[in-house]
Structures are given as C-alpha cells and as structure tokens.
C-alpha cells in the first residue's frame, strides 16, 4: 500500500526522511530541503545582501548540491549574492582531474564563474609528486593542510567576502567525535561553529551544517544532478574511518543521533585556564598559524629539503634534528 505524503499534498510518498522519519513525496521533499537551508542561512545571518560568495567546489555531491541550492535560493529569496565557484586542483591523477570535469559542467549549468587553483602553481608540488616522495602514509596531512590555505588564497584572489563549504551534518558529527578522540580541544570548540573567522582571513560558513548526507544524496538523485563520486585514490585515512563507521552504526540505531552529536558539540565549553594554542601569523607566508611557522610552510620546507617526514614529527624532535643537521654542516665545513 502506498504511503501518503505527510505534508498532506495527496501524492504518494517516495521517500522517508532519515532526519525526522517523515514520509514525503518528491516535490514536498525538495520544498522542505530547500526551505531548511534557507532557514539555516537566514537564522544564522550567513550572508549580507550584494556580497560576493565563493562556493568551494570539489565536484562531489555536497558541493554540487550546495551550488544548486544556493542558486535556487538566491533567485527565489533575492539574496542578491554574486556566486562564484572555487576549485582546488591537488594534482591527483585519476581522481581530481575527473572531478574537475564535473565542476566545469556545474559552471555551465549554473552560469557561474569558476576559478581553479592548483597545488602545482601555489606550492610547486602536485599530490602525485608528494606521494612519490613520502608514500601513502600521512599524505592526507599534506593534502589537508595545503587545501586549507589554498582556499584562503583562492578567496583572496577572487576578492570574495565569504567562502561556503559543503560540510554536511554527518561531517560535523564525525569531526566532533574525531576531535574528542584526538584530544584537540581548540578545534573541538570551534568545529560546530557555522561561521569561522580568523583575524583577517575571509570568513567561511557551512550552510549544509544541518543537512544529512543521505538527504543530500536523495536531493541530488531526484534532481538528477551530476556529481563525481569516487573516494580519493590515496588511501582513506584509517583512524577517521573508525569514527565514520561508528557514526554509521549510531545512525542505524537512532537516526537522530547525528543531530544529537552536533547538539552535544554545540554545548561544549572549555574550562577556564586550559591552555589553547595561540593564533599568530606565519613569519614566512603571513597566513594564520598556531606556530611561528605555519604547518603548510613547514611541510613545504620538508618537501623541498628532501626530508618530507621531518615536519610530521613533534616540534621538539624537529628542533633537535635541525640542530644536529647544522652541527653536521659546520663539522663538514671545518673539515674542508
């Protein structure tokens, strides 16, 4: 027996919302999904009128749906936003080159400008070359650190007022768990923030913060949006994988638990007197950093000096090795 749409529109329901358990027909689901994103945007005052906003586009489902929904809402509710697409090309053959094709398709479909920045032009290294150097372990560290900064630089180049990313509710819940497991107290506090700003960096926000991954896929599926869905070919991060599997189990037991984890995360507050990393400016590149030299610069230094694993170790070990290398050089010079 067909189940009726719970919005009482008379049509038979085609799906059951993972978030609330309500059964909806296609049209009512589109309506609800879009209205929810609109609600998130308005309630959190994510955008002011006539701003230029960059959508961080990877070609995956989240950013594709984000670009589509933002375009729809921008027109429907006259946000007056100037939307552009910003993509980062990490230089991973067989993964990023294919997904960039999807982004180029998005550019045509949504009539937005597109800027592609590559690791190669920014840092002189592609991820392929980095993996050649350091192997498949730890390469996600390089990619993640570089991408963070690449987005900032791209946003500055495009002179936008804000960058939106496609992080969904599952991503946020997973990050809450990861930060507890890693003991990263500073990130634990800010990972549930919907807008993150640095001192003079361009603010970033996450309009899909409360959207379930499953509903994003449903939306893309019924809207027949093309997106690129392949895992990165360079080893998925093992430890994060555990958190991800756990989250899937929790979702199976109680579908609302994703929202519950975010609720927990939003309520965390750090005890007074707990030492947090200070935020300063990197002496080499001038971007926000928690160390005198930012992680991106120190990773790059390691790569360029042929000691790529150096910058992955502890600060104290790094300093010791640097000192020892200096002594070695002095001794060699003295011998000459």
């Amino acid at each position: 027996m067909p189940v009726a749409c719970s919005a009482k529109c008379g049509a038979p329901a085609v799906l059951k919302r993972p978030k609330t358990g309500d059964t909806l027909c296609k049209e009512c689901f589109f309506n609800a999904f879009e209205l929810e994103i609109h609600h998130t945007i308005v309630k959190n005052k994510l955008f002011e009128k006539h701003r230029r906003v960059a959508i961080a586009a990877s070609g995956g489902k989240d950013s594709t749906v984000l670009a589509h929904v933002l375009k729809v809402l921008n027109e429907r509710y006259t946000y007056g936003l100037d939307l552009v697409l910003l993509s980062i090309d990490e230089g991973i053959t067989g993964y990023r080159d294919d997904s960039l094709e999807t982004v180029k398709q998005n550019k045509e479909d949504y009539e937005m400008d597109l800027k592609i920045l590559s690791y190669n032009e920014l840092y002189g290294w592609t991820m392929d070359a980095i993996v050649n150097q350091i192997g498949r372990k730890n390469n996600c560290t390089f990619c993640g650190v570089f991408r963070r900064q690449a987005l900032d630089r791209g946003a500055a180049l495009l002179r936008v007022d804000c960058v939106v990313t496609g992080h969904n509710a599952d991503d946020i819940a997973e990050t809450v768990l990861m930060n507890v497991l890693r003991g990263d107290i500073a990130r634990l506090q800010r990972c549930t923030d919907i807008i993150t700003t640095g001192s003079d960096s361009i603010p970033r926000c996450k309009p899909l913060k409360y959207a379930y991954e499953k509903e994003i896929v449903m939306y893309a599926y019924y809207k027949k949006l093309v997106y690129f869905s392949t895992e990165c070919i360079f080893a998925p991060n093992a430890y994060r994988g555990h958190a991800r599997t756990f989250l899937k189990h929790l979702e199976k037991i109680r579908p609302a638990s994703i929202m519950d984890i975010i609720h927990s995360g939003e309520q965390f507050s750090i005890k007074e007197g707990v030492k947090l990393p200070n935020r300063e400016i990197c002496k080499l590149c001038g971007y926000l950093s928690s160390q005198p030299v930012c992680k991106a610069c120190s990773l790059l230094e390691g790569l360029n000096k042929g000691l790529p694993k150096l910058s992955l170790s502890k600060q104290s070990v790094q300093n010791r090795i640097r000192l020892e290398n200096q002594i070695k050089i002095q001794q060699a010079v003295a011998q000459l």
Binding site: S6, A7, K8, R17, K19, T20, D22, L24, C28, N31, A32, L35, E36, H38, H39, T40, V42, K43, A169, V176, L177, N179, V180, L181, G183, L188, I194, K209, Y210, Y239, H242, H249, L250, K252, I253, R254, S257, M259, D260, I261, I262, H263, S264, G265, E266, Q267, F268, S269, I270, K271, V274, K309, L310, S313, V317, R320, I321, E324, I327, K328
Partner: protein
C-alpha cells in the same frame, strides 16, 4: 659523527624515536623496588611487582580523595556497590584505608548500598536471591543496605533493608509498575538510559535517608571514556563535566564523587587479582544484547576496539572531557531537568542550534504547501521557538528521548508513571526546604 643512543644516523628515519618494546621473556626486576620480579606491565612500558603495584594504586586512590579536599572526618559517604570489579576494588581500598593505624587512616564513615534491579533484567526470584547473598557477603565489612529499583517509583522515603533476605522480592517482581514503564519504552538505548537515571535518583534518595553527604561511585577511567562517547551520542554533551568529573554537585547538599576515575580497568582487575577479590556477576538489562543494540553498547564496543589498537584512546578521551566545563551562556542553571537533575540545555532562543534545526525539519515535513508558503523565515523567527509541551518540557535534551521512544499506543501509561514519580520527588524537595518551619 653523531650518536643518539640507537647508534649512528643516516637518514632522518633513524632519528625518529623508536617505540620502546619490552622483552617480557626475560625475568625483569621491578624498577621501583629492585628486589621483586616484575609481574604486571602498565601503559605497555612500566613494570610493577605485586607490592609496588598495590602501593601505587593505594596511593592513587588516596591522592584523588586528598587532592579534592572534599572529604571531612565527620562526613558519611554512601558507596554505590554493584558487584562489579571496580566496586569490589573500591570497597577494599576503603576498608584497607580504615584499618591503617597511622595518621593516614580514613576518618570519614561509610555505608554500602546495593540496588537490586534484577526484575528489569527479567531474572527469576531465586536467581536474584543468589546474587543478593553474594553481594551481602562482599559488603559484610560495612554497614550495608539493600534497595529495589522499583522503589525509585514509590514514595520518596524508600525503605532500606539491611539484610538481603528481608527484600520483598515478591512484591517487586516482573509485573510491577516499573516493568510496565520499561515495556512502554521501545528502544534499548532509552531503557538503559532510564535505568541508569532511576538508579542515580534512588541513590540520592538513599543517601539523604542515611544522612550521607557524599556518594562514591566506582567508575573507572575506562568506564568514563565510554560514557563520554555514549553521552555525546545521546545528546548529553552539555552535562559531561557533571557526568564524568571527579565531583558532581547537581543535587543540593549531596556530592557524588568518583574516586576511581584515574584507574584503568586493567589496574582494577590486577588489584582484585592480587587481593583475591572476585567480582559478582549480575546480569543486567543490556548484558546479552547485541553489541549494536543500543547507543551505549555501540559506544562500549567502539571504545574497547579502538583501545586495543590505539592504547592511548581512553586516556585521550578522558583528558579531553576533563577540559570541558558547563556552558553557562547556553545552560539554564535555574531550571534543572526533572529526571536527571542537570541544568536544562534546551533553550530555544539561541541563534543556531541543532535542536532548532530538527524542530524546523519536523515542521516543514508536516506542513501543507499553503502552510509552507505562509512560513516567514527571519533571523529572529519564532517558528522553532515553540515550547515543547507536557512532561517533555521539563526534561533536558537527552532525557526527552525516554518519552519520545515510548510506544505511541501506551505513551500515556508510561508518561503517567513517570510524571507521578517526578512530582513526588519535587514535592519531597519542597518539603525538605520548609521542614524546619512546619509545625
């Protein structure tokens, strides 16, 4: 050439600190006393002999109590005893401390209380009698009492039984009101949650009746790390500082302490082994359940699996949670949850919240198109700030699930039982406040 202990360096890889691997085949002396052979390895690198381990654990226990400066000689503490390894160890540690002749002797007085919740786990009366007589033997060194979980629903001055034989198990058996309440709750997650909360409330009741000012629970670091992960999943993150901290003062004049919170479960097991203490197996609600049967069970297997492969998991989770405090900007300290007594975390006037987003989702999934068109979303909208109604409005975010998870056909039954209990509780709190002035 440089030498860094491991001998010579070539590439940086050689300079990376090597993991210390213990060769346990050799007979190693305990480095602390240098006389006895080592018997236990903790943190996968530290060797202890029996004497040094017991000394170390005793010291850790005393230090935890001493550092807090919360215990006064005239205090009386209620020990929540469950028969588990850790509660066996806790009783023994306190007993040892009271026997000392030196100035280090524990001066405060204690009593042990055991809650019989066998009916919830569907145990037969004879099984429960067997468990209880074992429990009585374990608690025999102390003033001790038995109490049935059913009494958490009854009037607020629950009778305490000093002898296990006296427990009227026939009266508190499977077809009682408590089981009616549990049967209306459909998910194991919520049943476990409800049981745990009722137990805590009953302990508070017993403590007041016995004029205790402190409650000791035997939760170890491992238990608490699991609880942290489970509570995050249950939406109870706001109360983590209370739920896992050393002291929990959510109820007036009564502080719950967790003196074993620096013990790992391994340390507890060795403590019991060296002292010939055997835990009493008490089957509980979730003992035989599927590892993925509830959020709490899933968290338990997640933490223990991760701990096997990454031995720092438990301590990292635990230390992270230790850096959290109650968020006074979002919590409402004046209003506490009727069930778990923690400050309410359900303020709906905050800018962005996952709670508001869920409410909005519910609203738009059930509204007709005309209604939707009429919805005006503004930054200060009140679509989502409608208050929840009924019993739920007095409960915190996580406790609301107990009601949400009730069978819709019997929702009234369960809610009514719970409402009656909570009302009686708040009445007795009021009575307590004015008791000195009532003639």
């Amino acid at each position: 050439m440089c030498s860094n202990g491991s001998g010579g360096c070539g590439t940086t890889e050689d300079l990376m600190p090597e993991e210390v691997k213990l060769d346990l085949k050799e007979d190693k002396l305990c480095p602390r006393c240098n006389t006895n052979a080592g018997e236990v390895v903790l943190r996968s690198k530290d060797i202890y002999c029996k004497t040094c381990l017991l000394h170390y654990l005793n010291h850790k226990f005393r230090a935890a109590l001493g550092k807090s400066k919360l215990m006064r000689p005239q205090d009386k503490a209620l020990i929540a005893f469950s028969g588990s390894h850790s509660s066996m160890a806790l009783l023994h540690l306190i007993h040892e401390g009271m026997q000392l002749s030196s100035h280090k002797r524990i001066l405060f007085s204690v009593c042990a209380v055991y809650i019989d919740d066998g009916s919830v786990a569907k145990l037969s009366i004879s099984e429960r009698r067997k468990v209880n007589s074992g429990v009585q033997a374990a608690m025999s060194n102390f003033e001790h009492y038995f109490i049935c979980i059913e009494q958490s629903l009854g009037p607020n001055n629950a009778t305490l039984y000093s002898n296990a034989e006296e427990l009227p198990l026939d009266k508190y058996s499977e077809d009682g009101e408590l089981n009616k309440l549990f049967e209306t709750v459909t998910t194991l997650s919520s049943r476990q949650y409800l049981l745990q909360t009722l137990r805590q409330n009953l302990l508070n009741q017993a403590a007041k009746k016995l004029n205790c000012t402190k409650i000791f629970t035997a939760e170890t670091q491992t238990d608490l790390a699991t609880k942290i992960i489970a509570n995050i999943a249950l939406g109870k993150g706001a109360h983590i500082p209370m739920d896992v901290g050393f002291s929990d003062d959510r109820t007036d004049d009564l502080i719950t302490l967790r003196p074993l919170r620096d013990f790992s479960s391994k340390e507890v097991i060795y403590y019991n082994l060296f002292n010939d203490l055997a835990a009493i197996h008490v089957p509980s609600l979730a003992t035989l359940a599927d590892p993925l049967g509830s959020l709490q069970k899933a968290a338990e297997s997640f933490v223990s699996d991760l701990q096997t492969n990454f031995p720092s998991t438990v301590s990292t989770v635990f230390r992270t949670a230790d850096k959290l405090s109650l968020d006074l900007s979002t919590l409402d300290p004046a209003k506490s949850c009727a069930l778990c007594k923690a400050p309410l975390d359900t303020r709906s006037d905050l800018a962005s919240s996952s709670m508001g987003a869920t409410k909005f989702s519910r609203l738009v999934s059930n509204a007709t198109r005309e209604e939707l068109n009429a919805v005006q979303v503004t930054s200060s909208d009140d679509v989502t700030s409608q208050e929840t109604v009924g019993l739920q409005s007095g409960l915190c975010y996580a406790c609301q699930y107990v009601i949400k998870d009730m069978k819709s056909s019997q929702e009234g039954v369960g809610e009514e039982i719970l409402r009656k209990t909570l009302e009686e509780e708040s009445l007795s709190v009021m009575e307590n406040q004015i008791k000195d002035f009532i003639l």
